[in-house]
Amino acid sequence: MDERKGWSWRLAGLLSPAAFWLGIFFMLPLMLILVYSFGRSGVYGDITITFDPSNYLRVFDPLYLEIIGRSLAIAGLTTLFCFALGYPLAYFITFKGGRWKLALLLMVMIPFWTSLLVRAYAWVVILGGNGIANRSLQFLGITSEPLNLIFTPQAVMMGMVYSYLPFMILPLYASLEKFDSRLKEAAQDLGASRWHTFWKVTFPLSLPGVIAGSILVFIPSAGEFVIPDLLGGSRTVMTGNLIQQQFLNARDWAFGSALAVMLGVLMLGAILLYIRKVGTDKLEGV
């Protein structure tokens, strides 16, 4: 495709509405919280800009370290579970899907396209005191009394794996789809076993999909706020809930801004690393 080089009035006209909107309502607010993060919140929620990094240092308070550590652990485990469930399914759709491939893929997408709240609510009902999960456990004789399943880190993880699984499956499918089956045949003709073929040929070639899927699951999980709010309650507070509390309840915008900036930087770092390694073309393919 031929591309026009350099700036022109036409190009400026095409790009300026987006530049205006994203500049004022995306970049500027981010700059604002960056500035606020170096300030100090007063008693009435007012902020004095002091340019000292104390808000960032507060993160090392054991109370907050615990919350951040929990967020990273839950997000990491969510990513791991999504991979463990998502890889076999993506593999299945790609190589065994046949003419049902698109339908099978659409079936992965449908739960993902429904409201996140609806998905979280489904687990509130299932894991609740007298819900299906508890009654199944009692029916199977695993427990005699209803267990406390909801408002635990496990419940949060369940809800997150459920919500973010499609984020893992789609990039995995995209990279497995490009796999040339002749490579597998070549490996097997040369005497490799099934497992050997998989680990030495198929899996390494699907690695860009694994990395993309892991980033797509880990980032929103680490910053998740709705799922821990509904399924974790006050005992499984994550970074997202902490940020929300600082902004809406504690009215400590300076500290809340510092937390938000750190979360944003973590995300940008991950995406920059990814673009440098794989390039933006792959992102468009997803």
Binding site: L32, I33, M109, L117, G128, F179, K184, I243, F247
Partner: protein, 264 residues
């Protein structure tokens, strides 16, 4: 050893695992739908079939109000972001210029920035410039995150387009506006429609960013559902969820049919 297509994993285990994952994806939804037809006020113990909660749903004025708000926000955000996003996609797909990497990065950053960060930064911004929170601020925020998604979808469509038809139109004397309306737009229309559909779905479903940019009395459907879950579970939420699910599935299946048909 079977030498078919594939990468080397055994079939039976794969079938079982795939079945398990689909069960995991759909069982919670099935349970949700099942209890929306419950006769009693329980979302966990079955006591007989009734349509009672659907009746209560359509009589609940606050849910209807939230639904109208969501429609207003969704339609406005979709229209504005689809136009802005399509223009940006044309600029980015067809031109090579200084600052393109920065423009690309901003577009992608807006799609992957954690919603909570976008939400609190917009809250801080609107409060600082003393912009009254309400439907307007929600629409502004939704347009901001929808632009990027529309741009990415439309751009993918433009990348696969044959430019020679545009040149032919220009040689035959069409001005740039006519060329765009009569040649380019009809070709990229499936991409624009897909982008618009994506924008509408994202806007209609958005909870986190809306939560931080909504004012008193500007509750959207997701905000309403959230407060209902917080207040206490009831089959009326199941009924509402079921309606949302059915509408979403119809939109997706219908939308993908239209897009698939147009691609030929």
């Amino acid at each position: 050893m079977a030498k078919g297509k594939g990468g080397g994993l055994p079939d039976k285990a794969l079938f079982a695992l795939a079945g398990f994952v689909y069960l995991f994806l759909y069982a919670p939804i099935a349970v949700l739908i099942f209890f929306s037809f419950n006769a009693e006020r329980s979302t966990q113990v079955w006591s007989g079939f009734s349509m009672r909660w659907y009746g209560e749903l359509i009589r609940d004025q606050s849910i209807l109000d939230a639904f109208y708000n969501s429609l207003i926000v969704g339609v406005s955000a979709t229209l504005v972001s689809t136009i802005i996003g399509t223009f940006a996609a044309m600029g980015l797909a067809r031109h090579r210029f200084r600052g393109k990497t920065a423009a690309d990065s901003t577009i992608y950053a807006a799609t992957v920035m954690p919603e909570i960060v976008v939400g609190v930064s917009l809250l801080a911004f609107f409060v600082t410039v003393q912009f009254q929170l309400g439907l307007t601020t929600i629409i502004i925020a939704h347009v901001a995150f929808c632009i990027s998604f529309v741009t990415i979808v439309v751009r993918a469509r433009l990348a696969g387009m044959d430019r020679s038809v545009e040149e032919a139109a220009a040689y035959l004397g069409a001005n740039p506006a006519t060329t765009f309306l009569r040649v380019t737009l009809p070709i990229i229309l499936p991409g624009v429609m897909a982008g618009g559909l994506l924008a509408f779905t994202l806007s209609f479903d958005d909870f986190v960013i809306t939560f931080f940019t909504a004012g008193v009395g500007s509750s959207t459907l997701p905000l309403k559902i959230y407060s209902m879950i917080k207040f206490g579970v009831s089959p009326i939420i199941n009924a509402l969820s079921t309606v949302i699910l059915v509408v979403t599935v119809i939109l997706i299946v219908g939308g993908s049919r239209i897009l698939a048909g147009r691609k030929e």
